[in-house]
């Protein structure tokens, strides 16, 4: 008996990646603009200055354009768990479904309800109520991210669950463990700050463009003031939570860490690659080819980031496959082959358990259940074939990781300089910085996409770490169907993206609505 065809699994993955990739263009804009427009409106309510209202309304309009397309891609993601990952939906739905439902009930409704007051309520509710609505839109968007990232973090590090051999699925036994997982918090904060970074980059970049064109000067300076602060806070916090992510990944997903660094042979006091190029001739983890053409390392930094100890041993890809090194808890790491054997034992025990129960042999069933539980931690390995299956795409993970880090360190510097000019000098006089701000608009988008590629490609082959590989998770649908929907989605989303981009550019060209008595610029 075979697993699903590679083609079915890969097209299902491609479809999910496509949707998620598009989703993560628009959602970060709303996360970032949500905060920025709420801060701007707060300034309006505090100062009564109509110009702040004008600024808020402009960015709220941009928010609306992105909100629409964000929910369009979001709804597809939600339902794709069912349409394309049917085994997954049953196998872990007992845990995974809950945060999705809570997101709908508690977060998405908040965002969608108060967005209508934000847009249509200027003349219909009080000024303070309007401000509260704008903040609630931001809160709703952020809570949405919270629940979704709890769900995602749980896939990377499954906690608070127990396998039930009768229902053949994992069941939640500790809601709090799922909600309070450190990985979840870190992931949530990291993703939200990356949204702030995107919003801030856009606001500051557009402001710079107006300054270059010498239009809407006051609007531009107000935008740069708020955007600049949000941007700097975001990037500093991205560094902090990024460090947290690296630490958690090294503890929970060492293979991902090894792929991020292209580390095949582990070592003590491992350095972090600051700059490097992988050797395309390296085809397999065990072909003996040097993985690098060149690399520049910061000594011992990887050990420190991963284990808070400059001399800690960081296992490489081959170590993780071969086992035998000492883990943090003092035990010895198992090899892939040992884990595979235990996984197969667990799967067989589950089958035996089911048969024994069906035949009423309860004592036998109890024995099989014991074997199953003893080996369940390795369940997913039983479906893999060779150690190679355990290795994610190293070049993709490596380059996207380093691209993200480089962009974000550059951005700390950029926002630091920008704020200096906004608050201490005059941004109007610094053309070079205006150009830099304009041309930096795409960078946070690229960094965000790269970050998700690291997170999701780096954990292959797992949908649920160690428990459920992708080829076991997908729906049994022939590839032709999925290819068709993939093409439809590609056309739809691309068309929508182009329309969205040109609408935004038109809005930027048009500028904010003139104040009463003000002439159109």
């Amino acid at each position: 008996m075979d697993l699903l065809s590679v083609s079915t699994v890969n097209w299902s993955r491609a479809q999910f990646a496509l949707t998620a990739g598009y989703h993560w263009i628009f959602v970060p804009i709303t996360l970032g603009l949500g905060l920025i427009m709420a801060l701007m409106e707060t300034m309006y309510v505090k100062t009564g200055d109509e110009k702040w209202k004008q600024v808020s309304k402009f960015w709220q309009k941009i928010f609306g354009i992105n909100f629409a397309i964000g929910v369009a891609t979001g709804i597809i993601l939600e339902f794709q768990f069912g349409t394309n990952w049917s085994n997954y939906s049953w196998f872990v739905g007992d845990i995974f479904g809950a945060p999705l439902a809570i997101e709908g009930i508690l977060a998405f409704f908040m965002e969608a309800t108060f967005i209508s007051i934000m847009f249509f309520g200027w003349n219909r509710v009080s000024r303070k109520m309007h401000l509260a609505s704008t903040w609630l839109v931001f809160l709703g968007a952020t809570l949405s991210a919270f629940w979704i990232l709890i769900a995602n973090a749980w896939m990377q590090y499954p906690v608070g669950m127990e396998f039930n051999p009768d229902t053949v699925r994992n069941e939640m036994v500790d809601f709090w463990a799922v909600v309070s997982s450190r990985i979840a918090y870190n992931k949530f904060l990291h993703a939200v700050f990356s949204g702030w970074a995107v919003g801030a980059g856009l606001v500051v970049g557009v402001a710079a463009w107006y300054l270059l064109k010498k239009r809407h000067i006051d609007f531009a300076l107000k935008s740069a003031k708020v955007g600049g602060i949000v941007g700097l806070v975001a990037y500093v916090m991205l560094a902090v939570t990024g460090d947290g992510s690296a630490y958690e990944v090294s503890q929970k997903q060492p293979m991902k860490l090894a792929a991020m660094e292209g580390l095949y042979e582990g070592k003590e006091g491992a350095g972090l690659v600051a700059l490097g190029m992988l050797n395309p001739a390296k085809q397999s983890h065990d072909d003996g080819v040097n993985p690098y053409i060149f690399k520049l390392e910061i000594p011992k930094l990887l050990s420190f980031l991963g284990y808070r100890n400059v001399n800690a041993f960081v296992p490489g890809i081959n170590d993780i496959i071969d086992g035998g090194y000492t883990l943090q808890d003092g035990t010895t790491a198992l090899s892939f082959e040992e884990r595979k054997a235990r996984g197969e034992k667990a799967i067989q025990a589950l089958a035996d358990y089911q048969v024994a129960m069906a035949e009423g042999r309860n004592a036998d069933a109890a024995n099989h259940e014991t074997i199953l539980r003893e080996n369940y931690a390795h369940f997913g390995y039983g479906y893999l074939e060779t150690g190679k299956d355990l290795v994610p795409h190293v070049p993709l993970t490596f380059y996207t990781f380093h691209l993200m880090v480089v962009i974000r360190f550059y951005s700390i510097l950029f926002f630091g300089i920008l704020l200096y000019f906004v608050y201490k000098k005059d941004l109007r006089d610094t053309k070079w910085l205006q150009y830099v701000a304009l041309w930096s608009i795409p960078l946070p988008f690229i960094a965000g996409q790269a970050g998700w590629i690291v997170a999701e490609m780096g954990r292959q082959p797992w949908t649920i770490q160690d428990i459920l590989p992708v080829q076991l998770a997908a729906s049994a649908i022939s590839p032709g169907n999925i290819i068709t929907t993939f093409i439809i989605f590609t056309v739809l989303f691309t068309g929508m993206l182009i329309a969205e981009a040109t609408i935004m550019v038109k809005q930027f060209k048009k500028g904010p609505d003139p104040l009463p008595g003000e002439e159109e610029a």
Binding site: M1, L3, G64, I65, A68, A72, I75, E78, F79, F81, G82, T83, N84, S86, N87, S89, W90, G93, D94, G97, A98, L100, A101, E103, G104, I105, L106, F108, F109, A112, T113, F114, S116, I117, F120, G121, W122, R124, S133, N164, V168, R169, E171, M172, F175, I347, A351, Q354, Y383, L472, A474, S475, A476, M496, A499, T502, I503, K506, Q507, K510
Partner: protein, 384 residues
């Protein structure tokens, strides 16, 4: 002590209620399906679009919540129906993707495809989403072609490791070949259009559109009643998918759904009340030229009727998502629900729903203190 059985019934009630709310809120889709036929001028069209555009998010969010709540409470339905009736759901979702951008984009400069295209998207969403939802819901009574084997994942199945397997290569499109499914699909489409007509009458400050909407209530109300009655009577006298409470065996029982109504008189009473409210909303609007509040009767009636209909599909030892080719694969509240722990955790979350409903009600009221007219589109500062 709250039993597992109680929680399963409770969650089926919540899902039924969400289903009822969703069908009611699909008046937005109904309105989208008649943007062209109801309006004669561009300004009329704009008013209709903006009246609906201030509500579309509620329908959309309810759909998202419906999906999430179904996933959390009955995950086997999620994996079986979505992963199996792939095309029915995918087409429905495509329509919603199109809808999500259409309001915001259609009148904005630089939208590439022009307002006509976006309005065509709204039309597509209006017709297909309502119709397909009706078709799929009907399959709760007529059955689908799938098998479920939980042991498959451990290699016990004959055809692969997938637990839920759809056995018809059309993946959901075959549901369109069942006349009863078509009847409910058309009933939901015409119901949505009827509700939209009633909504416009209550919401718009525009005499021409109001009068036209009154006529449209009749034109759409009649086919709705006809198709709904065909579906209802057919379903009441047809065989249904019953579950033996002791052995859990699924078997065909003559007039099962009629029996469910008779076994659960409260459900029957509410169902009848719901139907009466819908009919009162429609006919009083048609025959009484001063009556403009039909949407509240027909809307509330829709919520109650659909909720009761879904209760009949799942309560009283009935398989709510039956397999017509392998009865024992049918989904029941017992074999497809989440664990006791998850259902109770989610039940606690559901206690917050009244709070959510309260702020939705507040927002709705805040924006609806007065009827919408063309001047509002100017003065509110954000128009589609």
């Amino acid at each position: 002590m709250i039993t597992y059985d109680f929680l399963q019934q409770y969650w089926w009630f919540i899902m039924s209620l969400l289903g009822g709310l969703l069908v009611f809120l699909m008046f937005v889709q109904g309105g989208q399906s008649m943007l062209n036929s109801l309006s004669k001028t561009e300004s009329e069209k704009k008013l209709l679009i903006n009246a609906l555009g201030r509500k579309w998010e509620y329908t959309f969010t309810t759909l998202v919540t419906f999906g999430g709540a179904f996933f959390a409470s009955f995950p086997l339905f999620y994996s079986t129906s979505f992963g199996g009736a792939y095309w029915a759901w995918m087409i429905l979702l495509f329509c919603f993707v199109l809808q999500a951008v259409s309001y915001e984009f259609q009148s904005k400069p630089g939208n590439i495809f022009g307002p006509k295209t976006y309005r065509a998207f709204l039309f597509l969403n209006g017709v297909l989403a309502t119709f397909l939802l009706g078709v799929v819901v009907s399959s709760f009574f007529t059955g689908s072609e799938f098998t479920v084997g939980k042991g498959n994942i451990a290699g016990l199945g004959a055809s692969g490791f997938t637990i839920s397997q759809w056995q018809n290569p059309l993946h959901g499109l075959e549901l369109l070949a069942d006349v009863r499914n078509l009847c409910l699909g058309l009933a939901v489409l015409f119901l949505a259009r009827t509700l939209a007509s009633l909504f416009f009458m209550s919401r718009l400050d525009h005499e021409v559109l109001e009068n036209r909407s009154r006529k449209f209530t009749l034109y759409n109300g009649i086919p709705f009643v006809v198709f709904f009655l065909i579906f209802l009577i057919w379903t009441l006298i047809a065989e249904g998918y019953a579950v033996n409470p002791e052995t859990k065996e699924v078997f065909m029982e003559p007039m099962k759904y009629l029996r469910n109504f008779l076994d659960m008189p409260i459900v029957l009473v509410f169902f009848v009340l719901g139907v009466v409210a819908v009919l009162y909303g429609i006919f009083n609007t048609v025959f009484n030229p001063n009556f403009k509040k039909g949407i509240w009767f027909a809307g509330a009636g829709t919520v109650v009727t659909v909720t009761m209909l879904l209760l009949v599909a799942g309560y009283n030892n009935t398989a709510y998502y039956p397999s017509s080719i392998d009865l024992q694969s049918s989904l029941t509240l017992q074999n497809s629900s989440s664990s006791y722990f998850t259902l109770s955790a989610m039940a606690i979350v559901s206690l917050l729903v009244p709070f959510v409903v309260a702020y939705i009600f507040y927002a709705w009221r805040a924006l609806e203190k007065k009827k919408l007219n063309l001047e509002d589109l100017e003065s509110d500062g954000h128009a589609y």
